[in-house]
């Protein structure tokens, strides 16, 4: 299944936030969206998953979601959004309950996804016992448990320290290698964008417009930090964003 964003604009009252956005998230493709803070990235992502309606334009699903997908458009949130009173197992079962699955079905799904994300040892832990990195791993496991067609990730690593972020990025790449999910990955971190994105959509400052779409046709597993091409790409993106970020920073909030 593909997700197509067509001429999407959005206003919050008199405040234009997004203006004429067009791009497509292809099957098995990770599209990173970067832009200065306040340019409407989170708003765009909320619209992609149907949590908000765009003022103009439309978001289209193209093709059928994979067989057995319980929730084709699935979010991974920056602050994890785990229920603190439920164990890891309980947090994942939460999103499987109410779909008419049998208890054994649910348990097999949970066991399977915990294995894939190497969390089996933490099945009965509750969130307060887990580090930030582990919490986000659980949130990713929860998202994968419903067999999504497109993962919608809003700065999933921003609440983590840089070492943990590095580890989770490697985990994400490993998972993608096996599962080939499609994803829209919002970030303000250019390094994440060049490491994880098959394409990088650069938004201007508010109202966010597509400034540029950069294709990176290098396999994810080959991109390491020392690669000069990666460093070059990151520098190019920064050059593109520098002015915008500077202006956005100096803007008064209303």
């Amino acid at each position: 299944m593909q997700l197509r964003i067509e001429n999407v604009s959005h206003d919050y009252g008199p405040l234009p936030v997004l203006s004429d956005i067009n791009f497509t998230i292809g099957e098995g493709e990770i599209v990173c969206v970067i832009g200065p803070s306040g340019c409407g990235k989170s708003t765009l992502l909320r619209m992609l998953g149907g949590l908000e309606k765009p003022t103009r334009g439309q978001i289209l699903e193209v093709g059928k979601p994979p067989e057995g997908s319980l929730n084709p458009l699935t979010y991974v949130f920056q602050d994890f959004a785990l229920l603190p009173w439920r164990s890891v197992h309980g947090n994942i079962s939460l999103v499987l309950e109410g779909h008419g699955l049998s208890k054994t079905d649910i348990d097999t799904r949970i066991k399977d996804v915990l294995e894939r994300t190497r969390l089996s040892d933490f099945e009965s832990a509750i969130p307060k016992q887990l580090s930030g990195g582990m919490k986000q791993r659980v949130a990713i496991a929860r998202a994968l448990a419903v067999d999504p067609a497109v993962l919608l990730m809003d700065e999933p690593l921003s609440a983590l320290d840089s070492q943990t972020r590095e580890l989770l990025m490697a985990d994400l790449i490993g998972l993608w290698e096996r599962e080939r999910f499609a994803a829209c990955y919002i970030t303000h971190n250019l390094n994440e964008a060049v490491r994880l994105g098959h394409r990088v959509v650069v938004l201007s400052r508010r109202p966010g417009k597509v400034r540029e779409i950069v294709e990176i046709d290098m396999p994810l597993e080959d991109r390491d930090m020392t690669d000069p091409r990666i460093a070059k790409l990151q520098q190019d993106l920064w050059d593109m964003m520098r002015e915008e970020a500077l202006d956005a920073d100096r803007e008064l909030t209303t």
Partner: protein, 274 residues
């Protein structure tokens, strides 16, 4: 600065450790101190009464109060008083809490209910419920009805307010998460909203429980044959200060037990809180 500079500085006579300025505001758990204060106080009281330093008419010795309590227990009236009080308390508090939870949830989740009911709640909540007792006696009679109704009323409002403000305070990202996974509204309410409201509900219960005890005693003082409040009032009328103290201590213990139960419930149900 070179390494030798540092060395020479450390041999200097003008060297001090950095003065410690932290600490002092952390409470240290000192067990038995409270118990010690109790024992010293009671010993002093007992001694004062026996030596005539405290007039026994004003304040009887703890041993006399204990004696009065034992008399009460031997006469078999203790059970009657306790049973009457506990029955009113449990009945009124349970019904008030259940009703409060229902109405509070309704206000928290439904904007029509909120617009309609919450001004009413705000208007009635600040009335000291004791002032309504005469009205309740007219409505429900001097018997059990008016007493239970007062307690019910007194525990209803704090519960309503605790419940709906708890629902208002539920982390929106959790609700949004539920929606984003396509969970039904009922699913979100039952599995996300209500469990997240539990801390607020329990602290509301703590308040409504102590209000209930106050109202229990007040109601029993107005017209009851049995009940701790009636016992205390009668003792006061007879100037039987030993019985009076015994009754007051029973109320203190009742309050402590209720508080203990709620603390246990919090510990058990809210162990997930960090």
């Amino acid at each position: 600065m070179s390494v030798t500079d540092i060395d020479s500085a450390s041999t200097d006579s003008d060297v001090r450790p950095v003065p410690f300025r932290g600490g002092g505001f952390k409470t240290i758990d000192r067990k038995f101190v409270g118990l010690g204060v109790f024992i010293v106080l009671f010993a002093f009281w007992e001694w004062g009464s026996r030596s005539g330093f405290i007039s026994s008419l004003v304040l009887p010795a703890p041993s006399e109060a204990l004696e009065a309590f034992m008399d009460l227990a031997r006469s078999g009236d203790l059970q009657l008083h306790l049973a009457a009080s506990l029955q009113r308390l449990v009945l009124g508090f349970t019904c008030g809490t259940l009703l409060g939870l229902t109405v509070g949830t309704l206000i928290g989740l439904n904007s029509l209910a909120r617009a309609g009911i919450s001004p009413l709640v705000s208007a009635i909540f600040p009335i000291p419920k004791i002032a309504l007792l005469p009205l309740f006696i007219i409505w429900f009679g001097i018997g059990e009805g008016s007493k239970v109704a007062t307690i019910l009323f007194g525990s209803f409002f704090p519960t309503v307010i605790a419940t709906y403000s708890g629902i208002d305070g539920v982390d929106r990202t959790l609700i949004r998460m539920g929606q984003s996974f396509g969970l039904s509204r009922w699913h979100i309410i039952r599995k996300i909203v209500l469990p997240a409201t539990l801390p607020s509900i329990l602290s509301g219960m703590r308040i409504s429980a102590s209000i209930s005890i106050i109202l229990l005693v007040a109601a029993e003082m107005i017209g009851a044959e049995y009940g701790i409040g009636a016992y205390v009032l009668l003792a006061g009328n007879l100037m039987a200060t030993d019985q009076l103290i015994a009754g007051v201590v029973m109320l203190s213990i009742l309050g402590l037990i209720v508080n203990f139960l709620i603390s246990r419930a919090e510990k058990y149900l809210l162990s997930w809180r960090s």
